[in-house]
């Protein structure tokens, strides 16, 4: 029973494609999978926009949108109609071709990131030998589109926002890739399917997820911080900070193109969360061995929703980082920690199983964290927060 529910969509696909001529089967199978991915993640994007606004509203002690539909959950439809029917204003001196291409390339790149994420058992669109490398290659294309958007608008604020965004993204790409390399080292393969299969085993009750090891936990935290910065989300959203620079690199976009940018950004966020789940949280594997009867894709989406909720929570809670603080953090803190994490992974691999390697690895990471943190604070200390209310 469990296996039938687990492989439900795979069998559905096989049956649907089996009724068609044999020559077309691979192309049609890929086509149907692509359409499924597009629709599922576009629907997730719609749901996330409402959840984010309601979540942020509740954190800020107000209601989110609650007029359209029950509890406001039909808000994305209203937003979609609005952005589709708004006038598409292009500035007179803007570079029309590049201005038009930027959101298209962004959305195209964001959608192709999902090709290597295993959403369930046997449910990956393209089992590439170098899946993780493909992911990072395509996400580096997204940086260039942000530059295209900012530069083609011929607007000082857009260009400044684009430059900041690119500097931030290339700075945080290094710890992101380094923390993924630790997982690749531990799993011995660049293929996402292999990495998840390595984590789908259990000793007793507990899973072999990489996040439950010291280097995996540190790596996961580094990955999450770098992913927040890569997606230009708070607290790293200086390039598009609403109160700072109008709207950053998409100031001059209106209507449908703005909606495409929004879509592209959220899709990038989901994709990078998906990669974090694949690399550290065990992909589609269940957290305990007695829960494996739940279908694998449900676990993947549950973890994805958990990570999205975490991102929304962080957005509503932490203040924005300044540009120099952001860059210092990336180069002076995260890069050394990521390199040390790499060494810790190697030490973990070569020590024998038992308490010793846990103690050694935890010590390595914690001591480095404390020393680095202290040296970067330049003597200032954190004090208890004092609230001043208006009388």
């Amino acid at each position: 029973m469990g296996d039938a529910a687990d492989q439900f969509f795979v069998n559905l696909l096989h049956r649907a494609v089996g009724t068609l001529p044999a020559g077309l089967r691979p192309i049609l199978s890929s086509l149907i999978s692509v359409v499924a991915i597009l629709s599922v993640f576009a629907f997730l994007f719609a749901v996330t926009t409402v959840l984010e606004r309601k979540g942020l509203g509740r954190i800020q002690n107000r209601y989110g949108p609650n007029r359209v539909g029950p509890l406001g959950f039909l808000q994305p439809i209203a937003d979609g109609i609005k952005s589709l029917t708004k006038e598409d204003i292009v500035p007179h001196s803007a570079d029309r071709v590049v201005h038009f291409l930027a959101p298209l390339v962004l959305v195209f790149a964001a959608f192709s990131l999902y090709a290597v994420l295993p959403i369930g058992r046997n449910m990956v669109l393209a089992d590439l030998n170098a899946g993780v490398l493909f992911f990072f290659a395509v996400s580096s294309v997204m940086e260039l589109t942000i530059f295209m958007a900012g530069w083609s608008s011929r607007n000082k604020y857009s260009l400044l926002g684009a430059m900041r965004a690119i500097a931030q993204m290339i700075s945080y790409e290094v710890p992101l890739i380094l923390s993924s390399v630790t997982v690749v080292m531990a799993a011995g393969s660049l293929s996402t399917v292999d990495i998840v299969e390595k984590q789908a085993e259990y000793t007793g009750f507990f899973p072999h997820w990489f996040v439950f090891t010291p280097w995996g936990f540190a790596g996961f935290l580094l990955f999450l911080i770098a992913a927040t910065a890569e997606s230009n989300r708070s607290p790293f959203d200086l390039p598009e900070g609403e109160s700072e620079i109008v709207a950053g690199y998409y100031t001059e976009y209106s209507g449908f193109k703005f909606a495409l940018f929004f879509l592209g950004e959220y899709l990038g966020l989901f994709a990078i969360s998906g990669l974090g789940i694949t690399l550290f949280l065990g992909g589609w594997a269940a957290p305990f061995s007695f829960l494996t009867w739940v279908p694998s894709y449900l676990w993947f989406f549950a973890k994805l929703i958990l990570l999205i909720a975490l991102f929304i929570w962080v957005r509503g809670t932490l203040p924005r980082l300044r540009m120099d603080q952001l860059m210092n953090f990336a180069w002076k803190f995260m890069l050394p920690m990521a390199l040390l994490n790499l060494v810790t992974t190697a030490v973990w691999h070569f020590l024998a199983q038992g308490v010793v390697r846990w103690v050694v690895c935890i010590l390595m990471i914690v001591v480095a964290y404390v020393l680095l943190g202290r040296s970067l604070m330049h003597g200032s200390r954190l004090e208890k927060r004092v609230y001043r209310f208006a009388e």
Binding site: V98, L128, N129, A130, L133, F134, F136, A137, V138, S140, V141, E143, L144, F147, M148, W151, L159, M163, I166, I170, E173, G188, S189, L190, S191
Partner: protein, 165 residues
């Protein structure tokens, strides 16, 4: 056939990159040419190299060139020609070079062979093994070279405001 399409796109991107007046357009056309080359590498079965080409060239070198273009902007005051002062001699040299290369290719034995499919796909483990065993020394040298280049680039381009007091 797919190869011809990507080849034409790559050459078109390269020619466009060399002939645009606006430098940013030129860089974007160059990026297009790089992407075309990456597609050709993937067609030839070199997966790692194709993806590394996108990651390094499109994701880093193109952005680097774009930053340099924006930092060295001419305000476009004098509408000069885009060609340098010695362009006629250069054109002759280029045609000579291309002639020699094309003649060599057409006269070599290469015209009769090549064109089979790869016996098997190259796995990442093989590349990793090669990098760690047979090519370990080049790997370390390239690492040292990249470090030196990074330090050198920062030293050359750093804005030395502290000296002019």
């Amino acid at each position: 056939m797919l190869f011809s399409i990507f080849a034409i796109l790559t050459v078109a991107g390269a020619v466009a990159a060399m002939s645009f007046r606006n430098l940013v357009h030129s860089v974007l056309a160059l990026t297009f040419a790089f992407a075309g080359l990456a597609a050709i590498y993937l067609l030839l079965g070199a997966q790692f190299v194709g993806l590394a080409q996108i990651l390094v060239y499109v994701g880093a070198v193109a952005i680097l060139i774009v930053f340099a273009v924006l930092l060295t902007r001419d305000d476009g005051t004098a509408p000069r020609s885009i060609l340098s002062s010695s362009w006629k001699e250069s054109a002759v040299v280029v045609l000579l070079v291309f002639g020699v290369l094309a003649w060599t290719i057409s006269r070599s034995l290469v015209f009769g062979q090549g064109g089979g499919s790869l016996p098997r796909d190259v796995s990442m483990q093989e590349i990793g093994n090669a990098l760690m065993q047979r090519f370990a020394l080049p790997l370390e040298i390239v690492g040292a070279l990249l470090t030196v280049a990074m330090i050198g680039a920062v030293t050359i381009a750093v804005n030395e405001k502290e000296e002019r007091r």
